[in-house]
Symmetry: C2
Subunit: 300 residues, 2 copies
Amino acid sequence: MLTVTILGNNSALPAYGRNPTAQVLQTPEESFLIDCGEGTQVRLLQYKIKTSRISHIFISHLHGDHYFGLIALLSSMALQNRQQPVHLHAPAALEKLIQLQLDVAEATLSFPLHFHAHEQAEIIADTPTVTVSCFPMQHRIPCWGFVFTEKKNLRKIDPVRVQSYGVPPTYYNRLQQGEDYIHPKGTIVPNSELTIEAEPPKRYAYCGDTLYTEDILEHIRGVDLLYHETTYLKDFGPKAEKYFHSTTEQAGRIAQQCGAGRLLIGHFSSKYETLECYLEETRAVFPQTELAIEGACFKV
Amino acid sequence: MLTVTILGNNSALPAYGRNPTAQVLQTPEESFLIDCGEGTQVRLLQYKIKTSRISHIFISHLHGDHYFGLIALLSSMALQNRQQPVHLHAPAALEKLIQLQLDVAEATLSFPLHFHAHEQAEIIADTPTVTVSCFPMQHRIPCWGFVFTEKKNLRKIDPVRVQSYGVPPTYYNRLQQGEDYIHPKGTIVPNSELTIEAEPPKRYAYCGDTLYTEDILEHIRGVDLLYHETTYLKDFGPKAEKYFHSTTEQAGRIAQQCGAGRLLIGHFSSKYETLECYLEETRAVFPQTELAIEGACFKV
């Protein structure tokens, strides 16, 4: 099971209690942090999300509202004497910046920080529960989107069938992996007789700061849940283009064209105290849309 | 009038809703930010303190809990199209770090940022309302304390006397500056006949992260309000020494020895959910002690 919790949903500045961009994607075993605006560590504390489970951090681009909280989070992990490694996937320049911040403090991290620079559209992480790929967005500076794909789920044991065939429980793990049952007397019972198809693996796409661009469609086709930025309302198309951002309508069109199951919108402008306007406009194009409200948790 | 508002009082990590170090010193005309831990801009918003009035920022040292919020604050000022300059007084290495953070974002600030590196104990700022001097503390990395001295206050007009001598109101400004009154007929009335001594200028000292050291006494002697860090309770003297911090008892002794009017303590450990223990222990040495509670405002 994959869930996304929103830690920050505002663009550029904190406003009306809303914070700069950050999200955490969780499986029962691992957590993945996506972007890390200022104060992300405080929101993780507030929502009781354990930083010890975060194995990989993905930074889309080096505008401050997407990464200013990172060095503070890494420093806090070190102060808590973390030992497990962190894999940091980010634009190349961030590595030098982190090193400089450690150097001026005469500090070292207590854990290995493995840095992986984004280079091209490819698989960038392969963990026990997901694979992650990145692809380029179109923003004022290099910016990357991410797709998280759940690993194949285990087949489900059919309790009635296994009992009727007398399969011992010690065999269940192998059945879940798809193996047939071989009876001690040599009879073979096909796996399909004993188990039920697992739920298909879920996919989550994160499309941070970007112009409206159909170039991303090939990477996000058919995802179950799509996050796409909507900095501007639909009447601000030229402004969105000028600042390399998207409108509500454009996010809806991307969701429609890639065949997403649902759409999550965020990166709201500090001009708006309430967000219903974003939701209404986007739902007019793509009805299965939700607001990325801070603290809300979405099942992928 | 000088007031200090506490924006963050915790050491190292945010905990129990407490935030890393930051304070703002205000006169009716100007504001001065002292240290700038992560999330300082959010607290400024929360306490309705206008960033437009902040003319000078003083950073004591380059441990993250004292400056990680700075780049975010400067970026937000630029997004709001600030034009007035900011004077940043900090350890030299911070200049390169800020430039690198701007470079990776391909960003520039909308206002002039004048960088002043701490070099030796001296006057580092002379504004319309205060002079500021810095002096070295003893910490794991170079760390600086600051003393803010109000400019001489204006003498107060004695309303009965000026009337009895027939001084025209257009002359009052000159009287407040200390001038004598010269009657059109040539008679001289000494200033002391017409005005009352102004309140003596107030002094505020900020002693951030430091070992107990009597070397600072010469710089902070007789200040009206002294902020001194108290990371540890009195029984943790050896630990305080190991990490270059001070205990409650040591802060109280510094206040006593320098003849401070009052003492403000902060930089609390994340081990303690409540802070009464800090207050009790320090007051046992120096009764005029207050806790640097976030949001609280102290008249110097």
